[in-house]
């Protein structure tokens, strides 16, 4: 399949299409007219954004320089001018939009500016609530989010959470928070007598927990790669 394909000569096809554009008809003094535009913009910002705008200059007499100034002052307001109307093409700067003619009036549908879609807030991180004490030998694994225990966590029990761990009783067992690499996870407890605390893999055993903290309300958090255990309140 290596037959050569002769490049075919493309014939340029021209197509006509008509669009509806907003027509601005500035009046003198220009400053007043611009203030009106500003008022409209203040009312509904972004109303003209992305819409074709044609400037009808038949009511004003402006020099080529004046037209350029008007077009640029509209541009600073986020209004891009598609074309000019009601002015002689001769003598205008070539950088200005082209002069149009033969425009016909039509009813412009009042289209409400598209409301910026309010993104629904991302679903709150799921959490697991345990109303009963976690007994010795029980293992609670909840990788999706936080774990809250209303009672105590017994010696020999284990809580594993993807998020933070909150214990409103005494934490006597093991608590491992942020196991999916969440280093912002913390462990909070009303009374710390934990056998082991871990956040994102960094751990401390009961031996390492300061004696002054024992039986006190405390939290554990990661400071870089150091697991800190500090008193609450």
């Amino acid at each position: 399949m290596d037959a050569k394909v002769e490049p075919q000569r493309q014939v340029m096809r021209l197509r006509g299409r008509s669009y509806v554009a907003f027509v601005f008809s500035p009046f003198m003094p220009i400053m007043n007219w611009l203030e009106e535009i500003d008022a409209t913009l203040a009312h509904s910002p972004g109303f003209f954004a992305g819409r074709p705008i044609v400037l009808d200059l038949s009511a004003v007499e402006l020099s080529s320089h004046g037209v350029a100034h008007l077009v640029s002052s509209l541009e600073t307001r986020g209004i891009r001018v598609l074309g000019l109307e009601g002015i002689e093409a001769g003598g205008l700067d070539s950088k200005l939009p082209p002069v149009l003619s033969g425009g016909r009036g039509c009813v412009v549908e009042q289209v409400e500016p598209k409301k910026v879609e309010v993104q629904p807030p991302p679903p709150a991180a799921p959490s697991l609530l345990l109303r009963n004490p976690v007994r010795s030998g029980q293992r609670i694994v909840f990788t999706e989010g936080d774990v809250t225990v209303l009672g105590s966590v017994g010696s020999g029990a284990e809580i594993v959470a993807g998020g933070s761990i909150h214990v409103y009783g005494t934490l006597r067992g093991r608590a491992m928070a942020g196991i999916n690499g969440n280093s912002d996870a913390r462990i909070y407890c009303q009374k710390i007598e934990a056998e082991l605390l871990a956040i994102d893999g960094y751990y401390q055993t009961a031996e390492d927990i300061g004696e002054t903290l024992r039986r006190q309300p405390a939290q554990a958090w990661l400071d870089g790669d150091i697991l800190r255990i500090t008193p609450l309140n």
């Binding site: 009963n132 007994r135 010795s136 030998g137 105590s152 017994g154 010696s155 020999g156 029990a157 005494t170």
Partner: protein, 272 residues
Amino acid sequence: MAKVLVVTSGKGGVGKTTSTAALGAALAQRGEKVVVVDFDVGLRNLDLIMGAERRVVFDLINVAQGVAKLSQALIRDKRLESLWLLPASQTRDKDALTDEGVRDIIADLRTKFDWIICDSPAGIERGATLAMRYADEAVVVTNPEVSSVRDADRIIGMLDSKTVKAEKGEQLKKHVLITRYDTSRAARGEMLNIDDILEILAVPLLGIIPESQDVLKASNVGSPVTLNNASSMPARAYIDAARRLSGETVDMVVPTEQRRGFMNRLLGRRAA
């Protein structure tokens, strides 16, 4: 309505069998019809404590396997009319027990007794889980020291997850019975105190049984301590516990060391 009560602990040697016999006898003395069931297949002891070891013919396994009828295996206590024993087999092991077998026996016992008290073996394996399987209430026996308290915590977790009642989403009523509470050692701070135990276990207290020679003496003569010497400290504590089990409100007495005052010592005995 019959109540199935399991006496359990996790740890061995804390006093499950002693407590089963003592509570069973105390409830029977109150006129309730009681059966104590030994689930410690292969290491049975309840028959000895109850003083019925020479009358065992058929046992729990025989009934579970349909070799004997329940009425053939039940042994009536010689001292109390309304107290019965269903002994365990000493020659078999715990694998001989099946869930269906236990279910049928418990269902059968429910029709005949007010209280079915199951003496659980130590551990958390088959024997212990089957003993608690069909229970309505549980007495968790613990000594005032850390290892038995932690094991008790473990057992409470299993009571809340592995029993039929828990699986149906119902709450199984649990009680803590603290045994071998040594008043003098507690005073010296050598044991866990009651509040610490209750704080760890978060289960209501059924009673505090003091460490006493009376318990050993009663075991040796094959009698529940509540029958052997009903006025002894441990017997009184068990009788109070039994009253609480049947719904009475009884003030909790923390055993304290009985120091006899000087005058009491001098005039302790009155000459005839």
